[in-house]
Symmetry: C2
Subunit: 152 residues, 2 copies
């Protein structure tokens, strides 16, 4: 069982912005700090902008910053948006389903219950909660960013 | 977020056997009833055999049947075995992790909590619970199997 890399990148971008409140962040900096492709992050940042989680400021000195206070950004809600259909098994998607017992299968009902329990845990936590150990996270990220910059 | 097809196939095989208590089931029959490749099912059946969930009887008239009563087969335990490492995000695997904040990241802790909640729901249900509506499931599966056989 795995979340998409896209969701992972979206959450890392939000965390990076929450660690630099008010600052305009270049996606290049998130990419270097996390060692992730800039192209992948740009796609996530665009969606986060459309959803209002990020504010995108265009131009040469532009960048992104949080579009709302981190205390109001609920992790479970972000994951629902970035993961899309949350198709734990193929039968969750009626268009691609091939299973003949769809609709009468108690296993798919159980997977839905499990998924709700998973998301219920993520709904208890906000972006602000994820960065309460900000100094430790920043130290790690800045060290990695310096190494990446030096290597380029 | 998605479970592997392998887990899905393993659980469908177990359900099929639970619907035919005591009978020796040919993997070909599971494949036709569910419209799944026999090769994929054979791999899952082999692992289920090793784990004791299935008994494999070799030979021309051989097949598989449940290796233990369905009331004792807990869905969460099967999923833990068939999914392997349950790497919701890359940092769950220290060998492949590239994230610099591993070990101090509250997001990965949250994902672990969510995963535990997901599995806790699956631990409440046994294979026997999944087939309490046996006649409805059998009717659907047999109809699909007849269609598949006729097409071959």
């Amino acid at each position: 069982m795995r979340l998409t890399a896209y969701t992972n990148y979206a959450l890392r971008t939000l965390m990076f912005c929450a660690l630099h409140p008010g600052e305009l962040i270049r996606i290049q900096d998130v990419a270097e700090a996390h060692g992730i492709s800039k192209a992948h992050l740009l796609k996530a940042a665009r969606q986060l902008g459309k959803l209002g989680y990020l504010e995108n400021v265009r131009g040469r000195t532009g960048g992104v910053r949080l579009g709302q206070p981190p205390e109001t950004i609920i992790v479970g809600e972000v994951v629902r948006q970035t993961e899309g259909d949350m198709e734990i098994v193929e039968c969750f998607n009626p268009c691609s389903n091939t299973c003949p017992i769809v609709g009468v299968c108690k296993l798919s009902t159980l997977f839905r219950t499990g998924l709700r329990a998973f998301l219920a845990e993520l709904d208890k936590v906000t972006l602000a909660d994820l960065v309460t150990n900000g100094p430790v996270l920043l130290e790690r990220l800045e060290r990695h960013q310096d190494m990446q910059s030096a290597a380029c």
